[in-house]
């Protein structure tokens, strides 16, 4: 076998550095900040984490997935997957603004775009193509589940972007990894809770009614993790299935992370329902990120079609 679905030594080092940075600089206040935590974001840029997807930089999907998983585990704020997309697809002049952390990107479809109130670069996408765009008029802020700053905005398309299919695949992988990490954070939290919370004279995790749903959520997360790693390897090797695997990974991680969030809520009970509690904000972020841009975005069918082509009769 030429590949293993384990991290390479280099990826382990990258993961550790991201984890250390987040542990030091991504406290609860940063995650919940009303204003955007620019110093945290600049630090990501200094670590090179915002330029992993820049063409020709030598980093690959494996590194993107590794870094985003740790950012997800830290529930780090910011347009992380969108930055992956944009830095891969934009011309160098705009890409560098983003990879250096000097501006944020808003990537979406009118009228409602994520990060629009804070963005310096706008990209509209219809699922197939993507265009650099200029905002028209004021951005009207909209409060959204998950706490990210969205806005209603008019756009004038300025320039069609290149490398869109690869950019989309890389950002699908970034989102998959982030969701996996965030889901894993919640699942590890509820497993710890289940080991220590006593009811009826014993740890609640010794009840199968509590333990087995944790296992089910763990299965979904592990499935998503392995599929994401497999898809990243496929992208890095230029395998013809790379893009279809990347969208599969996003769908898989979305389902898994939402499942982990709900399992964590049920396991934590009322403790988890407090705004100040251990899971609420992250669960909401997961739910928001897992919501597809348009439900009928055809991702499932795309996977099916891709899969079908491979079938031998």
């Amino acid at each position: 076998m030429s590949v293993s679905l384990r991290r390479t030594d280099e990826q382990r080092m990258l993961a550790e550095s991201v984890r250390d940075y987040c542990a030091a600089h991504c406290a609860e206040q940063v995650r919940a900040a009303e204003g955007f935590p620019w110093p945290f974001w600049h630090g990501l840029a200094e670590l090179g984490l915002l330029s992993l997807a820049v063409p020709g930089e030598g980093a690959g999907a494996g590194e993107i997935v590794t870094a985003c998983a740790e950012l997800g585990r830290a529930a780090a704020p910011g347009p992380i997957a969108a930055t992956v997309f944009a830095t891969h697809a934009l011309p160098e002049r705009q890409a560098v603004l983003l990879s250096q952390g000097k501006a944020l990107v808003s990537l979406g479809k009118r009228p409602l775009l994520p990060w629009a109130p804070l963005a310096g670069v706008f990209i509209e996408t219809d699922g197939d193509g993507a265009w650099l765009a200029d905002p028209v008029g004021e951005v009207e802020p909209v409060e959204m589940l998950g706490g990210e700053p969205w806005g209603r905005v008019g756009l004038r398309l300025a320039q069609a972007l290149d490398r869109v299919p690869t950019a989309r695949a890389l950002s699908d992988l970034a989102l998959a990894a982030y969701l996996w990490g965030a889901g894993r954070r919640l699942l590890d939290g509820v497993a710890e809770h289940a080991r220590t919370r006593i009811q009826f004279g014993k740890a609640i995790g010794s009840f199968q009614a509590v333990a087995h749903p944790i296992v089910t959520a763990g299965l979904a997360l592990t499935s998503a993790e392995k599929l994401t790693m497999m898809a990243a390897l496929a992208m890095d090797e230029g395998h013809e299935d790379g893009e279809v695997l990347a969208v599969s990974a996003r769908l898989s991680a979305s389902r898994a992370a939402v499942g982990a969030a709900l399992t964590a809520h049920q396991g934590f009970g009322a403790i988890g329902y407090s705004v100040e509690g251990p899971i609420g904000r992250v669960a909401q972020r997961i739910r928001a990120l897992a919501t597809p841009p348009g439900y009928a975005d055809g991702s499932g069918e795309q996977v099916l079609a891709g899969y079908f082509q491979k079938g031998r009769p």
């Binding site: 409060e143 959204m144 006593i198 009811q199 009826f200 705004v275 739910r287 348009g294």
Partner: protein
Amino acid sequence: MDFGFTREEEAFRAEVLEFLTEFRGMNGYFHRGTDTAYGVRQVYRALGERGWLSLSWPEEFGGGGLSPAYEFILWDELAYARAARPPMGPGLVAKALMSHGTDEQRNRFLAGLRRGRINFCLGYSEPDAGSDLASVRTRARRDGRKYVVDGAKCWTSNAHWSDYIWLLCRTGAQDSRSRGLSVLIVPLDTPGVSVSPIPTLDGGRLNEVRFDGVRVPAANRVGAQDQGWQVVSSALAVERHVQFPPKRLRRDLHDVLAALEDAGVAGDPVVRRRMGQLAVRVTEVEALGLALLGEVISGAPSAVPAAYHKLAGTTLAQDIAHAGLEFGAQQALAVGTDTEFLWRQTILETIGGGTSEVMRGLIARQEFGLRA
């Protein structure tokens, strides 16, 4: 569809709907608006003025002496209108006082409860006693004609605007489990009681209620000392038919369908199929609700039907909410929309009032004889 009620009961429903026109836009079923506490108290007072908080109380206590079907209709329609949930005072507390209270206690509380002028909250859960209520630690030590209460309750609904707390506390030995508990009625303005907010994900609040040397007259104990578990259990039994009004689900489904129409996807075959399946499940819960009401009316033991009804209803509420976010696209995420609100709100439904795990355990034992 409303089904199975008498002509008189349906006439009462019409009155309820008429009453509700006064409270259109009121959102007291959930903790959604900022004026919830004030508004809900107004609803309760208005209901009290009509005698609707005591529909099924025996006439000897000033009640209507009517079938529990009237209560069911009332709270079912208030749930559909999102106006209010059944209050603890005229329901659980009043009925417990009728079976376990002294004449003095009945005289002191029942009139005010009936009129909607006295509000109670339930002091059951504690930081270390959530599903396992028998491990309650809040202690009431007898001191002459008083009890001295020390401890803390948490996740207490409505404590910040109630007049009294219906307190389950330990009067027996530390390890006496359910055999050493008593119920005390404690005025929330007693010195030593402090209420602090626990903001919740639905935008509302629960409360922590601390007791620091709180002196409570022994005359406020309901039932015998150390017999609190029986008081609490029998009180629960008489309110089962209004705990989860099925029309709450019908309204959820209608709200989500409206959001999907706004999003332009209500005609999509995948959406229609899923919503059709959810609609079937709503009718299931309506049938379970009717069956439960029938059990309560007949006086049959109803723990298993109540557990089935709660399990089915709360799980379905979550599934309806999840469909809203799955199909509603990103506009379903905007804060304040029914879709994202229901996602946040329904999380608590399978936890509060007995977790789904506890419900399943009860059914496993009582219906299937499985000691799991």
